[in-house]
Symmetry: C2
Subunit: 451 residues, 2 copies
């Protein structure tokens, strides 16, 4: 019995899929945070290389993946696709459950898919250093690795509380040669202004973004790099779904439903967008984003214009948002604690092309442990939301007396999240459910935009 | 350019290779620790199922791998073989460096290769529970995972200092459903006797072995399981080398030298024994075991009879040993801190079929960081010894103006060893070199054996 579907290296995709080309209506404009007028390429030039800015706005359906990027991806891609037969047995379903596994990358998640592309384009345009922020460290470690491959220096502003409480992601970044500072630092105006008010500030992702953006904007040889939300990031991740389509062909099945967890949207986009293209072309397939009840941007957020960061320094985009000052509780799926959703994913939800569902973290960890005990891999807390959704889809199909083909993306392993498993196994995890009133309150501070 | 050589699932080996069949002279007998007479199958029956005891003593060249074991191995096998072209560039060598990567297993090392086989045979013979010891936790987590797959309970006696200082391997074991106790415990006579003398004992691998063995010997439904040293364990690991032989064919090359790190000997045996068979059959190939200078059993030990454990409760075997009361310093490659070497590996060294070399940990971490920054994967400290040896072989070939084909086994990733990388990067790691006199002193307490 075959459980794995592998592709040879020459089947790493040669093009990224850009769903902007297939949308029924054009995406909403991106607005300058000061003028609230649409931004042009020149507004973004201090932060990103031109190739990335072009990709961000491109209407080309297929964007070629440079050989240098494919060669870097080949260190771990194509990633394997598994039929989860032992999970199926463990939950007693008649449905067929498949998962694509992105934890085989050096940093252990899907993040390097875009990190190597971004590092490549920056290097090609003569950039010497990249600045970025990281929370728990998935993105920072991925960019550290990618920067090392292309000979770029990488500076990571890591939220101080994570820097202190989760030292091992920080160690990974340093092993890959990056410079890592606990944010807020005294190296930027943004950091100094926070420290002046609170010298012992724990930091936040919003502050760390401000520091990284300021670092890039104030150094000619330095650009900024972001790990989710933006169009080009979502597009870089489509290698996941493009490979999965080939692998499902090898398995001789086509999914009834494609599932991924959703934080900023890059992981969900990665597996779902190529299947969304099939759907646009008439194929029957459901696309399901699984998010935490503690940060329910897709299921309870409003589709409107909002800032990408907490403090209102980044461009304003139209997205499903809980309000940029929404403060999600400290759940263990740190990668899903973002107040908004990628504009692309938001638009697909608005157009009815995709669905979203929210789960509490206890149920997700229960699903993760069931998965670890049957399939072996200990999942990242983020990925556990996709597992939970896959199991629920299988159970619903069983209840309806049907057999469903389910595909989900296991975006990463949980090797750096074992403390969360300890808490779950000790019965100490809490669920957080946000009442709609609380979400409405956090949306009172949205930017005033007139188009 | 292809960097990975993958095999389809149906090429997971169907037989283990048992090198006992090809030795020029029979192996030395295994002696009872009390009577010092050769042990028979019945002496081992309280600890192991009969199928394992037969394998331990078998002279059959090829031992079939049961389908149930192959299906379990298929969760991650065949493991990939890589051409390390980026490492070659980083060190500027003309040699070709290949590595087999065992870190893709759920627990992140080669250990599950034998864990699933041992769990299967125990389950088949009606065993309900397995008891074992673990130091830093690589073996304990692998057996926890394997036990879960076959529906066996697993009890792990984990050295107390590791239990407290390295909590995440413990968390993995619990996630896979194992029961984990800090050793010494009050559950065994062995543990109680230690605690009576020192209630705050840090424990040791020797004590933990005694506890696990006593647990198995005193419970009818429980057997003992060991992760290295023994013949059957080395044989189970030969799937590594058997796959690597197929993958080197795909690469169109045959290695001049095959390298692995050496602790108890199972990892080295795994990749080297199938190539040793080629060598016995006339092929030109060097087989090189890389060990730490802090625990140099192969390079400075004596080939003689000694106990397998520290306290003298286990059978006496002929092996390269530093003396069973040799106490290696606390280097970060915890899996290489064993006073002896597998009897099989020892015999091959004695017969001149293999070579051994020792390196200090600083040079090994330097090699590991070079590897991480070129190939991506952050290696386990144990595996870094193989990387160091591979780089040295490449450099020697360059100095001689030759091109060498080098194959090494990357036995695992370092995701649970990042604190060691922190220490290395901070310049805080020490090297330990044992003067021959010190080793001679630790060998004064060898058992008196007359055959």
């Amino acid at each position: 019995m075959t459980t794995k579907y592998l592709l040879p290296e020459d089947q790493i995709p040669r093009h990224w899929y850009n769903i902007l080309a297939d949308l029924k209506t054009p995406p909403a404009p991106v607005l300058h945070p000061g003028t609230k007028k649409p931004v042009g390429p020149q507004d973004l030039a201090p932060l990103f290389p031109m190739a990335i800015i072009e990709q961000e706005m491109s209407g080309k359906r297929e964007v070629p993946i440079p050989d240098e990027v494919r060669n870097a991806l080949a260190l771990w891609r194509p990633s394997p696709l598994f039929r989860a037969t032992r999970l199926e047995q463990a939950i007693g379903t008649r449905s067929h459950i498949y998962y694509k596994y992105e934890g085989v990358s050096p940093s252990g998640s899907h993040k390097p898919n875009t990190a190597v592309a971004q590092a490549y384009y920056n290097k090609k345009e003569g950039v010497r250093r990249l600045a970025t922020e990281t929370g728990a460290g998935q993105w920072g470690s991925s960019l550290a690795f990618a920067g090392q491959l292309f000979g770029l220096e990488v500076t990571v502003y890591m939220v101080r509380i994570s820097y202190e409480q989760k030292p091992y992601r920080r160690s990974m970044m340093k092993t890959w040669g990056a410079e890592v500072f606990p944010s807020p630092t005294d190296k930027t105006n943004a950091g100094r202004s926070i420290l002046a008010k609170d010298p012992r500030s724990n930091g936040s992702l919003g502050i760390a973004i401000s520091e990284a953006v300021e670092d890039a904007a104030t150094h000619d040889d330095t650009k900024y790099s972001l790990g989710s939300v933006l169009n080009h990031v979502c597009m870089h991740q489509t290698v996941i779904g493009l490979e999965a389509q080939q692998q499902m062909k090898l398995a001789g099945e086509y999914p009834d439903v494609v599932i991924a967890c959703h934080g900023g949207g890059s992981n969900f986009s990665g597996i779902a967008l190529p299947f969304a293209r099939d759907k646009i072309n008439g194929k029957q397939v459901r696309l399901l984003a699984a998010e935490p009840t503690s940060c329910p941007s897709l299921t309870k957020g409003k589709y409107t214009f909002d800032y990408g960061d907490t403090v209102g320094m980044t461009p304003i985009v139209k997205m499903h948002t809980l309000g940029h000052d929404f403060m999600p509780p400290g759940i263990h799926a740190g990668g899903l604690r973002y107040h908004g959703a990628a504009p692309l994913v938001s638009k697909l939800l608005d157009e009815g092309l995709i669905e979203a569902v929210a789960y509490g973290q206890r149920g997700c960890f229960e699903a993760a442990v069931t998965f670890a005990r049957s399939e072996g891999v200990i999942p990242a807390p983020e990925s556990s939301h996709a597992i939970k959704a896959a199991i629920e889809e299988a159970r619903k199909a069983d209840a309806e007396g049907r057999t469903r083909v389910i595909l989900f993306n296991l975006s990463g392993h949980g090797h750096f999240d074992m403390a969360a498993y300890d808490q779950y196994l000790a019965g100490k995890l809490e669920d957080f459910e946000y009442p709609s009133e609380a979400v409405e309150k956090s949306m009172k501070n949205l930017p005033q935009v007139q188009l």
